[in-house]
Amino acid sequence: MDVQFSQEKLNKVNEIISRYPEGKQKSALLPVLHLAQTEFGGWLDVPVMDYVAGLLSIEPIEVYEVASFYSMYNLKPVGKYMFEVCQTGPCMLNGSDDIIDYIKQKLNIKVGETTADGLFTLKTVECLGACGYAPMMQMGKTYREHLTKEKVDAIIDECRTKAN
């Protein structure tokens, strides 16, 4: 893969850097990593992290240590659609365990795995701030809330249709 932002994305990077004081461009690291992850296939491969380090004039190690700290950065390839199901207390009270079991069975994968067609990854996560709308999961940019088995079916169908 060619690790290079488009001119438009480079402009975005520069705009992000300008939000922080002169010389404090390292502050742009989290937002730029988000941008890079979206742009370069949903995860952060080493060349991508090195590229980001170059853009911000910091050492690659400064990028690695940050990328490995935060749960939203994927250090391994993931499926096209990632189901991140919350399993913390309030969601558990409302049946998140059943939803996780149902997705496992439906996609025939374990937590942490990706389907053979590369379409779906299942992850369990901790509280996403949607406790009143449980059970729930994050899928890409948005939340899917008040999950039921029927809703899970519909979401899977929706993804399959979009992918085709």
Partner: protein
């Protein structure tokens, strides 16, 4: 009718946009503030009695007055929108539905503190909320409420959203500052406090979303009027995010005079427990605060009705009380297992520990492991004492309060639900098939309870 100061307009169609928000009286507090002296704004906030809504409840006006003002060094206001404490989802609601209220509160607060560049640190998962905020900021700028020379006052203020990337610890203010600097979210040792040396070693104030939004009504009505709402040191209104086993989960703005019982059972609020079940337990202020059994939740050990405010919720200390915390209100019905719930929280804290201090890093791992084994019917009686011992060794022995936050839920669960833990140990097979149930947890208390 309850008083609403923050969410009274949240349902007006189109309130997310500048035009409607402005027409409904938005940004008046900025116009008022810009004609005042910054110190007088701090004074109003002091008079209001406003306490930080992020969890600790520290008086906001006092916090503001601590900010250092060294010559020639910029100061910064940072809004804490990391909202990751299980049970808490109020800030999201406010930002999602009435984003301009936060922006307005932040402009006033930035002026009061002398911050020309202010940041909103939002948890990374709230991706779409971050878009909503950026749009609101752009609108405010277009209408002359942000940028250079705001409303001709000579005050300049820029505002940016900074997205985190999944780490509860970044809600802790010094970890948040590290994260804003592009580093791992490892809390700093205090002192120096952020008010002296915060982001980029500059004086910094970190405040919760709801705290900064509350500055708007305070400016509009005056600190003294605001302080008349509520009771004692619990002034103004508080957002409660209610979840778990209730009929109407969601966000409620309360004035802090109503009872816990009314909050859970009245139709104006949570609307009672679904399926005619009974109340077993509740964690009223986010996962970190002590869980209470139904009886101690509804009445204090002194036999008084417990109210939804800072003082009443903490009445009895940790022996028989709990805390207001972040207002994340988690209700457990009679069929829920306290051991299992506590286990999920322990797993959460193990996952979120930054790993800097060994009592927290190792202790949270041990607590999770032991709770899991008790929950799965593989525990020993001595494990319960071991758990107690571990949580005690964490509390107070760490760099940041996450250690305490991990220890308290475990301590409270053992303190009040020890027989449920013992039942798991004594009934390894039965406990895998059914739950302990309500038992005596809702019984009237006749004798004063001791720790």
């Amino acid at each position: 009718m309850s008083i609403k100061l923050l969410l009274d307009k949240a349902h007006v169609p189109g309130i997310r946009g500048f035009e409607v928000y402005r027409r409904e009286g938005g940004y008046r507090s900025v116009e008022k503030a810009l004609k005042m002296q910054p110190a007088d704004i701090v004074e109003e906030v002091k008079k209001s009695g406003l306490r930080g809504r992020g969890g600790a409840g520290f008086p906001t006006g006092m916090k503001w007055s601590f900010i250092a003002k060294p010559e020639g060094v910029p100061r910064h206001l940072v809004c804490n929108a990391d909202e990751s404490e299980p049970g808490t989802f109020k800030d999201r609601y406010l930002m999602e539905f009435i984003p301009h209220l936060l922006i307005e509160g932040m402009i006033v607060s930035s002026f009061a503190l002398g911050s020309n560049t202010s940041y909103i640190y939002i948890r990374g998962e709230y991706d779409w909320v971050s878009d909503i905020l950026e749009e609101a900021i752009a609108e405010a700028r277009k209408n002359g409420f942000l940028g250079k020379n705001i409303q001709g006052s000579g005050f300049d203020c820029e505002m940016y959203v900074h997205r985190g990337a999944g780490a509860y610890i970044c809600g802790e203010e010094t970890a948040l500052i590290e994260s804003l600097e592009g580093k791992r979210g490892n809390p700093r040792i205090k002192p120096p406090f952020p008010a002296i040396q915060g982001v980029w070693a500059r004086p910094t104030v970190v405040n919760n979303v709801e705290t900064l939004a509350a500055v708007v009504p305070i400016l509009n009505m005056g600190g003294e009027e605001y302080a008349k709402i509520g009771v004692g040191k619990s002034t103004g209104t508080k957002l409660i995010s209610a979840c778990g086993n209730i009929n109407k989960p969601g966000i409620y703005e309360i004035d802090m005079t109503i009872s816990v019982e009314e909050f859970i059972f009245s139709d104006e609020y949570c609307g009672g427990i679904p399926n005619g079940k009974r109340l077993k337990a509740c964690i009223p202020g986010g996962s970190s605060v002590p869980i209470l059994p139904a009886n101690l939740l509804l009445t204090t050990a002194k036999g008084e009705k417990r109210l939804m405010n800072y003082e009443s919720l903490s009445d009895g200390g940790f022996a028989t009380g709990t805390m207001m915390g972040s207002g994340g209100f988690i209700v457990l019905d009679e069929d829920q297992c306290v051991v299992k719930h506590t286990y999920t929280l322990a797993r959460f804290y193990r996952h979120e520990s930054c790993g800097q201090c060994s009592p927290c890093r190792e202790g949270t791992g041990w607590m999770e492991k032991i709770l899991k084994s008790i929950e799965e019917g593989k525990g020993k009686m001595s494990d319960i004492d071991l758990l107690w011992d571990i949580q005690r060794r964490i509390e107070g022995n760490t760099i940041c309060p996450l250690g305490d936050a991990a220890a308290w839920p475990v301590a409270a669960a053992i303190r009040h639900f020890r027989d449920e833990f013992e039942w798991h140990v004594n009934n390894p097979e039965l406990s895998q098939k059914e739950n302990y149930g309500l038992r005596h947890y809702a019984d009237e208390l006749h004798v004063p309870v001791t720790a």
